[in-house]
Amino acid sequence: MIAADVTEPRSAPTRWWRSRSLRRFLRNRLALVGVAMIVTLTLACVLGPYLLPFDELYIDLRARFAPPGTGAHIFGTDPLGRDIAARLFQAGQISLLVGFSAMLMSTVFGTLVGVVAGYLGGRIGAALMRVVDAFLSFPSVFLLLSLAAFVSPSPLMITLIIAVTSWMEVARIVEANVRSLRERDFVLAAQMVGLTKRQIMFWELLPNVVGPITVAATLTVARAILLEAYISFLGYGIQPPLPSWGNMLNGAQQYLAQAPWLAIVPGVAIAMAVAGINFIGDGLRDALDARSDQR
């Protein structure tokens, strides 16, 4: 096992909690606001259902269209008299979970494509990247809706098709980074000692592109939450009675004059979640980008 001997002796890893990147991230006020927003939202969605006196599916026809603040209905009720706060928190669990899982799937797949295309280059690399370009040629909402109309709309399927339409950005970023590292000395050294292509790609190159992947993955969560909201709003995403932030807005337009809170409450939740994640992603980009020190 020559390969193992060569890859073993590494310099002691810098402890991440003392790294310069973390300090830079903690100095970024907007990123911290983002973290606070996401932590608050997540806690509310996880703990909220236990604190509220209402079940998200409980129908109370006497309390239809109760405006926010009526009795214990802090965000009011919907056209069936269900408590919006209870639905909002339950929906948040689903929307955040879908967003996060779609990110995991698309990041794994996108990274795989990117590393292989970037390292192998040549015809295989070019062919893979043309496929990426082809997927990017479709407006993602169009592609997503076509797929959603053809598959069964279970949460897993929705997550899967969001991943199918979101992996290209990661692939492009990873490919560009790997391509720029391909000719570096440590890669040449790894080739000389006879590491296989797979070992070089996943043990030598991949650890060096973790930074850009993290940034891209964070922004993909935001994108996935938005996409879920889009297709659920249009009626092709998560199906009721299971609530999601998107499908809570589905009937809202109809009652806009009568009950504007139906539209406002879930929309603010989506905007908060997506903005929070975007702030974090931007903060990560600045923190992990070595060049930002010189600015």
């Binding site: 040629s137 909201a229 807005l249 929309g267």
Partner: protein, 316 residues
């Protein structure tokens, strides 16, 4: 230039082929393929389904089916709508104007506002204006277009009563002013996200140009600052924006789809959703392919335009 033109066109053709392959895969993803819509007809038997499959050529091997489908696509025979029997291309064509009008108006304002904000922010990097607009752009990118549409309808139509809440014109009116009044809300909603994108990219491009040597030279020559900004900085920062316009096309089309739904705007997006609702797959597939082809042509046009303006682009 000719070499660049040829290689860029060749690239687009390869992409077009891959796009058609993806489209065909989506089409065959439907449970039971394109036959699924017949399977739901009351009284449908297995024998009748098999006969339809044979008539439609669906019992042939997939590669043959694909080539057949592609051949029809190339000749402009995109099938007929299940809903009213009109050819798909004709149906799409009758909705094209509304979408182009909406996208054109939105892009015009987005570029105008976004570019100004981006340039102003970059010239005063770190100022209150710069920080505020940067954060505002990030928030705008986080708001779902349809939700902004709902809020806009609530405020400007239901509450203030200034503007119509939907449709492209009032039945029986249809004057230019009437069209314009209906156009304001949807185009502003669609423009919001675009303004954010354009301001961010314009800011980055301007910062890039500011640090270049020729700007320092221009300043050192004693040119008036206004002239340096307008001619040397803005002129050069605008070139990558042409490419961005092409790259923004898919987002713009997707945004148009959602905006049209909220404002019942009779464009391609609205048609797409209606067709989905009616299981009108030929139109759905037609729109999917049409939008991708539109994006390819848009990107090609943007790249060629950028290359004809900036000779540096052709070198790589």
């Amino acid at each position: 230039m000719v070499r660049y033109l040829l290689s860029r066109c060749g690239q687009s053709l390869v992409l077009l082929f891959l796009v058609s392959l993806i489209g065909f895969m989506v089409l065959n993803l439907a449970p039971g393929g394109p036959l699924s819509q017949f399977a739901l007809t009351p009284g449908m038997t297995k024998e009748a389904l098999d006969r339809i499959a044979e008539q439609m050529g669906l019992n042939r091997p997939l590669p043959i089916q694909y080539l057949d489908w592609l051949w029809h696509l190339i000749r402009g025979d995109w099938g007929v709508s299940y809903r009213d029997g009109r050819p798909v291309l004709e149906v799409i064509g009758s909705h094209l104007f509304a979408t182009l009008l909406l996208m054109g108006t939105a892009t015009f304002f987005a570029v105008l506002i976004g570019a100004s904000v981006g340039i102003k922010g970059a010239l005063a990097q770190g100022s209150a204006f710069d920080t505020t607009t940067t954060v505002a752009a990030m928030i705008a990118l986080s708001i779902p277009t349809f939700w902004f549409g709902l809020v806009a309808i609530y405020v400007f139509s239901l509450w203030l009563g200034w503007l119509p809440a939907g449709n492209m014109y009032t039945v029986g009116d249809g004057s230019v002013g009437d069209y314009a009044r209906h156009l304001i809300l949807p185009s502003m909603v669609l423009a919001l996200v675009e303004v954010a994108v354009w301001s961010r990219y314009m800011r980055a491009a301007t910062l890039e140009v500011i640090s270049q040597d020729f700007v320092r030279t221009a300043k050192a020559k004693g040119l008036p600052p206004r002239r340096v900004v307008m001619k040397h900085i803005v002129g050069n920062a605008l070139v990558p924006m042409i490419t961005l316009a092409g790259l923004q096309l898919p987002t713009l089309l997707g945004g148009a789809l959602v905006t049209e739904t909220v404002f019942t705007w009779p464009g391609m997006g609205r048609l797409f959703l209606d067709s989905l609702g009616y299981n009108d797959y030929p139109v759905v597939m037609g729109l999917l392919m049409f939008s991708a082809i539109l994006v390819l042509i848009g990107n090609l046009a943007a790249d060629l335009l950028a290359a004809s303006i900036d000779p540096r682009i052709r070198l790589d």
